[in-house]
Subunit: 335 residues, 2 copies
Amino acid sequence: MSKKLRELGELAIVDLIRKRFRDFRPRALRGIGDDAAVILPSPGSRLLATTDLLIEGVHFDLVFTPPRDLGFKSLTVNLSDIAAMGGVPRYAFLGLGLPAGLSRDFLRDFFSGFARAARRYETNLVGGDISRAPAVFIAVTVLGETLPSGFIGRDGARPGDGVFVSGWPGESALGWEFLSRGKKLDPAGRRWIRKHLVPEPRLRLGQELARHKLANSLMDLSDGLVLDLKRLARESRVAIEIEADWIKLPAGFAASARKIGRDPLRLALTGGEDYELVFTAPPGKWEAVEKLARKIKLPLQRIGRVKAGKPEVTVKDRQGKILPFSRGGYEHFVS
Amino acid sequence: MSKKLRELGELAIVDLIRKRFRDFRPRALRGIGDDAAVILPSPGSRLLATTDLLIEGVHFDLVFTPPRDLGFKSLTVNLSDIAAMGGVPRYAFLGLGLPAGLSRDFLRDFFSGFARAARRYETNLVGGDISRAPAVFIAVTVLGETLPSGFIGRDGARPGDGVFVSGWPGESALGWEFLSRGKKLDPAGRRWIRKHLVPEPRLRLGQELARHKLANSLMDLSDGLVLDLKRLARESRVAIEIEADWIKLPAGFAASARKIGRDPLRLALTGGEDYELVFTAPPGKWEAVEKLARKIKLPLQRIGRVKAGKPEVTVKDRQGKILPFSRGGYEHFVS
């Protein structure tokens, strides 16, 4: 039987973590074990910094989430924010609150997943804090750097821009529907469940957009396409129109959604945790965006347009009728 | 009656926070409202980064902790880690998990305290994440910079060094004893309670030690003098001897401790959350340390010595007898 954390002790836990990340790159001048990490920024670069929380019972349920996947996702949702600036991730900091009755195996598996993501995306864990807690509480901060070509914010969308989204929004939400119904082994749901449990940050896409200055604005999707675009609209002081009819769904998606009584379009427009990127680009760049999609083998769909007007998001059908999705998405503290 | 967070919504909460810190310095190139903060590091400086958790029921109890003090302390315990490297704090990131039934007043008071600390110590809140949670979870990350003279780590203690501590260790623990007994209004306890609730980071001390290269090693006290010194001993691969007899207690401390049945020396040696600094300095620097204490009006007591040997901490009485404090202090997950 696996030891419980309360038998292991904090110093021993920190030692385990430190050993695991010892040979990772990039190196900090001073990492785990001192009061603060010491980092030498690349000359001339600007620093990117982002924090995300994952809280048991809110963002995940241990019944449905393997600890290894949780570790992977804890880092990649933060890397997604670096991708959303067109940046390169460098260092991670982990605040981890854990119930004392959790097993040592949980910790081993969590860090195995965290380390897998760290190695794949060339990020090093160089600091953090660990504590007892009434529930599993994960706070990750990632430091990254901009490319010499600069970053892309949420505030640059201009009237006339096309609105693009990477991948297939809604897959993660559909995965959650399968997972939470205990349909983990249903072959129809497996693909969406993977997307939900181990999302990949779109770092390459973000970096290519920044390097070639293809996008006027850029952000990642965490709370649903419509709600997140509303945030982008507010920051850019523009209106955004989505053409429902333009949204393509991946093969099998609609059938899977209907199988469990969900509307596929609603999932695509309001489902959270996609960690895809949305961006706006002026018409002169659309061809380059299409080329990029082929080069990095990632679908980049144009789903709407930026207009002058109040910072709202409207979703229209083929006839130009406004569909009732305009407030969709997940917002904390709103029931 | 104050609104509940669930009636307020996440976007509105983020707007409130953003407005509050809008005019703070230093400015980020991009702060709250984008996917990641963008920061221009000072040319030639090294970056310091540290994360600390504060968890309801573990680090604080809302029954005893005013939200304003909690906000102040959430930041200052992190600033203490920057002080412990001899650095200058610059930017803060806040991950905040809150039960949806908390009042809007809680949030207002929390940020009032956080902002007070931020303004006093010239730190700006430029990013974070907010979420529902089953209990109040606070994860703060602070970015700072080293002085041109460099940082002081935990690993530089050398045999022959004297061991110094700032202020009066044990005050915070004594404050907690009064507070948790409901003796908030007992005039004997008031001073220690303030020290527990609103600890000041010893930034000036850390910076002076780094600027004038007075210390070989430096760290801050969070889990108790003996346990924290054990960490320093491990990082420096040295033994540390504390002379119990050399430890001075502030006026009234012993009487207050005895009033509630606590041993004053044990509080000083094992009480947590002091956020004082401990450092080691070679004999040639002791006079300069004494001068510094007068200059910054902060007691700097010499309480022991560094020796070659196994990385242990021993506490000796006047006769050279070893006192049973060697494992004292707060360690998470150890019951």
